[in-house]
Amino acid sequence: MNVSPAQLAQAQLTETRRQFFGRGRHGLGAVALGSLLLPGLLQRPAAASGQPDDRAGGLPGLPHFAPRAKRVIYLLQCGAPSQVDLLDYKPSLDKLHATELPASVRGNQRLTGMTAGQGSFPLTKSPWKFVPYGQSGMMLSELLPHIGKVADELCLIKSMHTEAINHDPAITFFQTGNQQPGRPSIGSWLSYGLGSEAENLPGFVVLLNHNTYDQAQPIYDRLWGAGFLPSNHQGVKFRSQGDPVLYLQDPAGTERPQQREFLDRLGQLNAARAAEVGDPEILARIAQYEMAYRMQMSVPELTDLSDEPASTFELYGEEARTPGTNAANCLLARRLAERGVRFIQIFNRDWDHHSNVKSNVPMLCKQTDQGSGALIQDLKQRGMLDDTLVIWGGEFGRTVYSQGGGEGFGRDHHPRCFSIWMAGGGVKAGFTFGSTDDFCYNIVDDPVHVHDFHATILHLLGIDHERLTYRFQGRDYRLTDVKGNVVDEVRGELLVASGEWREASC
């Protein structure tokens, strides 16, 4: 070699950046090559940061139209919270309480193996009061004072329904649009379609709330998996114990300057090899190591809450100082959103109350209410709620009739109707959509299927759900399978005036 490795490495790095990142997204050739060689996740270089029109990966032509939301924070309530007790106000149950669910209402409803043998299905009203919140007077449980505070931001959908009645298929359905394992999750579809705008972080981050209860839902990596999409689109779990990102921490307590030296020498050796061999993949690897190096800074900085003022902890509660609590993860979600992460999903999973509704529901509300409400307020204060879609909901609902009975009664799984709420991101605020019957058993108006829910989320992000496809085994797959309708009624005002957005052509 005539040039020194250091010089060569520098030259190669510059070339990498020029080749893969230098051009904007309208240079189709560069993007196409880039997405072949450096797909999706995490390759935006420091040099390209701050440019508004820049993102790593993603498909040309996306978004298909002006997005209302740029990112999503999805507070997934695994185990299925009770709409009867929290969100779907049913004064009619005061009268019906303790009477038998009429067979005509139940119809041919499939029951789980847990109550199929039960001889009686006594209607059981919520033990708690519903109270009006905000200007809109939205009726929510008294157990949700903090979420109530932001009622005027909420778009409450009371007419969700799903096809699955057991946890695994139902949550798999919500996450991937299919009940059986094997398909990509929502977040990985978004990473694949829209790429990442996060500078030094993954575009799809998963946060797990600590389990506090021994009947908590087990969950699984595939819920944020990439299915048949390239595996770099899968969600990255940020953990509340050990390294937030696996293997982030250097074992030898290396200081940054030494780490930099290590990386420079590695880069020199790799660049020398790249010059010899010619394979651009080597340059991509150099770039990935640079990104890893930046993540070693950006992730601890992200999770270090010492820069948060006291007011933050007044808003989220002191619990937000304890990693792994819902409050802490909601705060972390806001910090991730600030840094451009596209899809942030919090898994809270203690809602499966087959018994002891009376003690368990208040416990869970106490754990989740303040953080969730605070997140909305916080985003609002920061002007981020407009383009951040927040979603709160579980994989199905719970039965209005009691399981077991007596003081320790529980509620079984109920797929026929349940409630979720969304906020921000271009949905109507202080708005309720859909309704259920007096028994809180069947939907009366405006049913929203899981596929519709997915179509709507994609729509809010500027994606036509029928056109975000991936060909696998000869078929063009989509998140919404072959179904799904956008629920137009929940859309609020456009984020970007339509004239400013030209549909990209390809």
């Binding site: 001889g119 394992p181 595939r222 696996l246 921490q249 030898a252 651009p280 990935q288």
Partner: protein
């Protein structure tokens, strides 16, 4: 158009030099190459094989239909007549009502597409059958200009293509890189220094083929090839779905390793895995092979419907078999006729009928299972057999010596009464939960009707006996109980939380006594649900007696011994309470029967002579036959003779140990009475419509008429020499593994939507060669690896990579990142940590704490990751415990699939998470320390430089001076740092389970470890070149 298709087409055009409209003097268009891709992608959605969605009665995938008169009176295609062809008018039209494809369909034709369609119609609109559905014919290898280059026919096909593109092949790879390439391709491991030295020193012309044969003969070959097969077989060590509990299927994994190492022909490999159980005189190993189709997930989630999940398992087999052998996406036809391929929904269910005959369940569907030894454990089995044989010899001698004692024992036993049990006739029956309790003729009580969450059976019975010492509870089975077991739950289990008894005097009902039980015994106890928990006075924490109902469908017996004798003079009413109050709802005892005894409390036991022995004892001795006497003698030895007892116990222990050395493996079995298969409307398990019988899709050759249409016939059909797909799909996968991309890039789809082969004739030549060789897999590897194509260098400069990024022209050697397991195994190999034990139970390498329990901490269904110790940490990755819901991060981060479903192609990504893994994961940091030790030791022994030695070990080649300078700089800087910071040095050296070498100077040791880390992070280390 989807992304992939766009790139594929662009590439295709680039190669044949088209891009612009085709020039006039080109040869005639080919339907398969030029036309079908357009029709399939743009038209078949509405005008293809699916009759349900067909528009205007027009079908464009068949010549007869496309040229027929339509209802409208038009003909879509009139061969040779452009103006009369309605299709032409429609594709030219701008009128939205006429235009095809319709503007709102999201599908559009380019000018080039239109040009091709018109030219094809003008040329006569000749259809061809889809290439992959026509059996391969062995082509003549083409002539090439550079006739000196080819080593075998493969090279002629490849070179002809390279020459047509106006290019030349690349030079030979240097030997250091070639052996490394071969070693990884055949064993998944880097060459050892000895292997490298042997090969570099071999001057003979046969050096390369000798080196290839060396690796083909290595046991690591079978491990490596088996590992790639496990992705197809969706093999895992856990059950998937919500709880993802542990399963033991590794004996099947060992079968695959053994099969590859024996070079089992691929046809036999296929037949045994799909239908080994149906072979005449099937051996246990052949039955074991069928574990292939039991590797799907199995749910244990309480609320599911059995048939729903049973159906999913059967469909999983259809999909996996279809993908693995046919390279087809049968699943598309689950809900409707296939949109693109000639597969009807009915044919899907006919195919499903082959796999629908297993005696299995949806919930807890682990049966059928069989304990079969691992084929890799022959030595272990022989050891047991020898020991047992020896003990039997000893036993014979013992029994002869003790005849007198035996006679005396027999006499004593005859004069001693056994415990007599008085079966109680229940009076009142009451269920607090609302079950219906019915008294049966044999005095048992059958529970039926509503099945409440919790239930207490209150059963009374009157007895005249006094001095009662114990109660016996028989939990009997009954046809009315779910699954034929003893419990009421859908899974046949029960949980008896507490067993309680109050004795009430008949004469004076004021006189009552709570009977306290102090001892309990059962003939079967479920782990953690021992019978003692039914008399421990608590129901908390699910404390109670259970009997593994899901897997053991048999009656169970318990006895409860009272603290003091009970029973009142003048009669006693016994009030029993069978409390079922665990949080497992609806887990009642199905059919209890109660008995009491007055036998001395200390001697009451469920043991005692079994009924057969009691019967013998009750007969006069002179009537007994020799074999009956031998039975008695054997029983005597078991219970009485100390020496005999000891030997028998030892034999039993060894037999048990021998049997338990291998867990039961889930295997295939056929129902005695075939199960009727139906077409399922929209694929729903509960919407059966038309009944169907087993059969193969019409597009393929038929099943042999003289064979019963079952799995065995299907398997033989798949590997029949005239099958169009099996051999092509198999050799394509081999090619994909070696070159990074298959000759058919879409190795998972050989159907109409799949990509055309880059070298169709080579593919067919290889397929026919595979069949001709008797499906000899090692011969196929030998053939390809000995080709000039394979031996090309991949150090060919930037231009070549940019020209042909995926190397579809094969004008250079393969170069791509190693797969996850290879990266980890290579780190263990170069650091000399690798433990080369072949086969056995899966092991638990390093994993950050908490990963399992943060996802699932439900008591009884979750555990902390049981990280291994010592050698277990350094086994090959194929033996790593594979938990579907939480795959080992070391592998997952490097694109290993989760094995939820059959995976035909892994992603190959390049991410910062991979960088962090190689930097910081304890496995790699520890390997770096051992590599450092090895570098230093070997350099010392040979008087060279550790830096140079390390570089060689990691990359297989000699470092350049420039590279060595960088490495030495790093050493110098790091030694300087560590000499001032001993704590940091120790921190680095303490990573991992193994103990650091105390003899090495600390700063040097740490600095060389840092150098080794640098080396293990080289792109060249993780890349096959």
């Amino acid at each position: 158009m989807s992304h992939i298709a766009r790139f594929a087409l662009g590439f295709f055009c680039g190669l044949v030099g088209c891009g612009a409209p085709l020039v006039a003097d080109e040869p005639r268009l080919k339907f398969n190459r030029d036309i079908r891709p357009i029709l399939a992608d743009r038209c078949f959605q509405c005008h293809g094989p699916d009759s349900q969605t067909r528009e205007a009665g027009l079908r464009l995938d068949q010549s007869s239909a496309a040229t027929a008169e339509l209802d409208s009176g038009e003909r879509a295609i009139v061969p040779g007549q452009l103006e009369q062809s309605e299709l032409v008018r429609r594709i030219r039209s701008n009128d939205p009502d006429l235009q095809m494809p319709p503007p709102d369909s999201g599908k559009q034709l380019t000018d080039r597409d239109r040009g091709l369609l018109e030219r094809w119609i003008a040329e006569g609109a000749e259809y061809e059958r889809h290439w992959a559905f026509v059996p391969p014919q062995r082509p003549e290898p083409p002539r090439v200009e550079d006739s000196g280059w080819p080593s075998n026919p493969i090279d002629q096909f490849v070179l002809a293509r390279i020459e047509a593109a106006g290019l030349k092949p690349s030079p030979l790879a240097i030997r250091e890189k070639l052996i490394r390439r071969v070693a990884f391709d055949l064993t998944g491991l880097p060459p050892t220094p000895q292997e490298l030295q042997d090969f570099l020193g071999d001057e003979s012309p046969q050096a390369v083929s000798r080196m290839i044969d060396h690796y083909l003969g290595s046991s690591a070959y079978g491990e490596h090839l088996a590992r790639t097969w496990l992705d197809l077989a969706r093999y895992a060590d856990s059950n998937g779905y919500q709880y993802d509990t542990e399963r033991q299927q590794w004996v099947w994994r060992d079968w695959v390793i053994a099969a590859y190492n024996q070079n089992m022909p691929f046809d036999q490999f296929t037949i045994e895995q799909l239908a080994g159980d149906l072979l005449p005189e099937a051996t246990p190993q052949q039955r074991l092979a069928t574990g292939f189709n039991r590797n799907h997930g199995v749910t244990i989630e309480g609320g599911v419907i059995d048939e729903e999940y049973r159906t999913e398992y059967v469909i999983d087999r259809v999909v996996t078999t279809g993908s693995t052998w046919l390279g087809l996406t049968l699943l598309c036809a689950r809900c409707h006729d296939h949109k693109f391929d000639p597969l009807s929904q009915r044919e899907f269910y006919q195919f499903m009928a082959f796999f629908n005959q297993v005696p299995e369940r949806g919930l807890n569907g682990f049966e059928p299972q069989e304990r079969i030894p691992s084929p890799l454990a022959a030595e272990l089995l022989q050891k047991y057999d020898r020991q047992i044989e020896q003990l039997r010899e000893e036993l014979k001698a013992t029994s002869r010596e003790s005849q007198a004692e035996f006679a005396a024992w027999l006499e004593r036993l005859r004069s001693q009464p056994a415990a007599e049990w008085q079966v109680l006739r229940p009076g009142q029956l009451h269920s607090t939960g609302g079950s219906t309790l019915t008294l049966l003729a044999d005095d048992s009580v059958l529970a039926g009707g509503a099945n409440p969450q919790h239930d207490v059976y209150e059963i009374t019975a009157v007895t005249e006996s006094i001095g009662l010492t114990a109660v016996r509870l028989e939990a009997l089975t009954d046809p009315s109980l779910p699954g034929g077991g003893p419990g009421r739950h859908a899974n046949s289990n029960f949980v008896l939380s507490e067993f309680e008894l109050t004795a009430v005097s008949v004469r004076d009902p004021q006189l009552t006594r709570e009977v306290k039980f102090v001892r309990a015994e059962a003939d079967y106890n479920q782990n953690n649900y021992e019978v003692i928990k039914a008399i421990d006075g608590t129901v908390a924490g699910n404390s109670g007696w259970a009997v593994d109902g899901p897997t053991r469908k048999e009656p169970a017996i318990a006895l409860f011994v009272a603290a003091e004798p009970f029973g009142f003079d003048g009669g006693t009413e016994l009030r029993f309470r069978l409390r079922h109050e665990a949080s497992f709802a609806t887990h009642g005892v199905g059919r209890p029967r109660l008995s009491v005894t007055a036998h001395p409390a200390g001697e009451v036991s469920l043991g005692g002579p079994p009924p057969a022995i009691v019967a013998l004892l009750n007969r006069p001795q002179q009537e007994l036959t020799a074999s009956e006497l031998a039975d008695l003698e054997r029983y005597y030895l078991e219970v009485q003779s100390t020496r005999g007892q000891a030997i028998l116990a030892e034999i039993a222990r060894l037999e048990q140990e021998r049997a338990n050395a291998f867990p039961p493996t889930m295997i295939m079995r056929e129902l005695d009475q075939p199960r009727q298969t139906f077409v399922l409307n929209r694929g729903q398990y509960d919407s059966p419509t038309e009944p169907v019988t087993a059969g193969v899709p019409q597009v393929f050759p038929p099943l042999p008429a003289d064979q019963k249409p079952n799995r065995l016939a299907l398997a033989r059909w798949l590997v029949s020499p005239n099958h169009p797909l099996t051999a092509r799909v198999a050799v394509n996968r081999i090619w994909q593994r070696l070159f990074g991309v298959g000759l058919v890039k879409t190795s998972e789809d050989f159907g109409l939507q799949g990509e055309l082969p880059s070298h169709p004739e080579l593919l067919d030549w290889l397929a026919t060669e595979y069949i001709r060789s008797g499906w000899d897999t090692k011969a196929m590897y030998r053939l390809i690896l000995n080709s000039a194509t394979y031996r090309q260098s991949s150090e060919v400069g930037r231009e070549a990579y940019l020209r042909d990024p995926d190397n579809r022209l094969l004008a250079r050697g393969p170069r791509f990142r190693l797969e996850a397991e290879e990266v980890r195994d290579a780190a263990l190999a170069v650091s000399d940590l690798l433990v080369r034990q072949v086969g056995g139970p899966s092991v638990y390498p390093y994993q950050p704490p908490g990963l399992w329990t943060e996802l699932n901490n439900r008591p009884g269904y979750s555990l902390e990751y049981p990280e291994g110790k010592g050698e277990q940490l350094y086994r090959r990755s194929v033996y790593s415990f594979w938990k579907r819901t939480v795959p080992l991060p070391m592998l997952k981060i490097l694109d290993a699939p989760d094995r939820e479903v059959c995976t035909l192609q892994r992603s190959r990504t390049n991410t910062p998470l991979q960088a962090l893994l190689l930097w910081n994961a304890p496995q790699f940091v520890e390997a770096a320390r051992h590599l450092a030790q090895r570098m230093v030791a070997e350099a010392q022994a040979t008087g060279t430089d550790p830096a140079a030695r390390g570089f060689e070990l990691v990359t297989g080649r000699v470092a350049t001076a420039g590279e060595l300078n960088v490495i030495r700089d790093h050493f110098t800087a790091e030694r300087e740092r560590f000499s001032h910071d001993e704590a940091a040095a120790r921190e680095l050296l303490d990573v991992g389970d193994s103990v650091p070498d105390a003899n090495l100077p600390l700063a040097d040791y740490a600095a060389w470890t840092s150098v080794a880390r640098l080396l293990l992070n080289l792109d060249e280390f993780v890349t096959k070149e």
